[in-house]
């Protein structure tokens, strides 16, 4: 489905621009010009987060914390094998994708654990990464209750998703 959606939107836009006698070429150039300056703002945050996540994973601390928190996840109805995925998912997309790959390789994608991992990865976002990057260009830094609420609702969503998997 989504294979078609974006090319169709793209075509519609170009055709509309043509009929309205506008010059999409120069608009596109102007728009993409801001990508570099945007990246200059975003890059320091990107680097700061990613180097910390890498050392967190390599040092084995993430695995250790995952083992420690596994009983809590089991208590909530999530497979204990997925605790590392749950921990890394809010921090880094690439880091947690590697963990997902690992889970599929170890347990298989079609097992209950594999399906649960798919639900967890598919239904959640890199909460801390997204919020840092979104705020990278403005002075607003104090988020108050926003992050706890985001983490809480994501966890509840994952619990519900895994429960649905067990029923179906």
């Amino acid at each position: 489905m989504s294979k078609y959606v974006i090319p169709i939107i793209f075509l519609t836009v170009l055709v509309t621009a043509f009929f309205r006698k506008k010059d999409p070429y120069s608009y596109f150039v102007e728009g993409s010009r801001s990508a570099l300056s945007l990246m200059l703002e975003v890059f320091p945050y990107l680097l700061t987060i990613m180097m910390a996540v890498e050392v967190f994973k390599v040092s084995g601390v993430s695995g250790f914390v995952a083992n420690l928190t596994a009983p809590i996840f089991r208590l909530m109805g999530l497979p204990a094998e997925l605790s590392e995925l749950m921990l890394l998912r809010p921090l880094s997309g690439a880091g947690s994708l590697a963990v997902l790959d690992d889970i599929f390789a170890t347990y298989g994608a079609d097992t209950y654990i594999g399906n649960c991992a798919s639900v967890i990865y598919g239904s959640s976002e890199t909460i801390f990464y997204v919020s840092t990057i979104y705020l990278s260009k403005c002075k607003t830094k104090k988020l108050g209750y926003a992050l706890p609420v985001a983490v809480f609702s994501t966890v509840i969503g994952c619990i519900i998703g895994c429960a649905v998997l067990r029923i179906c």
Binding site: T48, A109, G114, V130, L135, K139, K142, Y145, V149, S153
Partner: protein, 228 residues
């Protein structure tokens, strides 16, 4: 984020000090390197989507999309400018289509416009962060392709549960955000009333408050925005 970052670094580096002292700096450099690789890809991705969005905007299609989403956005982001709502609309539709990287530049602009450069995030910024970070994604294409790569017999078998999960998490997030916003605005009304009575009761107090005029004007403007 800064606290989590600090805890992560201190715990990991001190562990590596005992296990593999040479690995600490190496791992951090590997991480920094992959940040650069990601940044290069992202510049191209942002460039493409920002160019695409500029065409959308100039041809008036962005306005059309934001008009379609307006009832939802009005409810979620009360008192925000039309310009901000346009970027919010683009951000949300990109997220819905599973284009996280296309959503990011729109989200950055939306936060800039919603936040008015105040240090403390207002309710609208919080709402946008909560919506984006509870993930609205309808088609998790990354997971599907990863399942296919692992020879899954049913690569889309998890979709129903996944949709239920993501819809639930977003709904819970939005509801909690609305509740907290309401509680917060009640508190600040109480605070304003106290300020007012102080003003009437004693001039010394009034001087105290007037000594920080920026604070009280800020409160007034934020109240006024809420009333809109």
């Amino acid at each position: 984020m800064s606290k989590i970052w600090l805890i992560m670094l201190i715990s990991s580096v001190s562990t590596l000090l005992f296990v593999n002292p040479a690995g600490a700096v190496e791992a951090m450099l590997v991480g920094s390197n992959s940040a650069l690789t990601l940044a290069m890809t992202l510049v191209a991705t942002y460039g493409f989507w920002l160019g695409f969005f500029a065409v959308l905007e100039k041809t008036g299609i962005a306005d059309l999309i934001s008009r379609l989403l307006r009832p939802v956005i009005r409810f979620l982001f009360g008192g925000s400018s039309d310009e901000a709502q346009k970027y919010v609309a683009m951000n949300m539709s990109a997220n819905l289509l599973g284009l996280g990287n296309a959503a990011t530049p729109m989200g950055i602009k939306a936060v800039e416009l919603l936040g008015n450069n105040e240090e403390r995030a207002n309710d609208n910024v919080k709402m946008l962060i909560i919506i984006s970070s509870t993930s609205l994604q309808l088609l998790p294409s990354t997971v599907i392709s990863m399942r296919i790569a692992h020879h899954s017999a049913f690569p889309t078998a998890f979709l129903l549960a996944c949709t239920v999960a993501t819809v639930c998490s977003t709904l819970i997030g939005v509801a909690l955000c609305k509740i907290f916003a309401k509680l917060g605005s009640k508190n600040s009304t109480g605070y304003r009333k106290n300020l007012g009575s102080c003003h009437k009761k004693a001039n010394t107090y009034a001087q105290f408050i007037d000594a920080s005029p920026t604070n009280s004007t800020k409160l007034k403007t934020s109240r006024a925005q809420k009333n809109e």
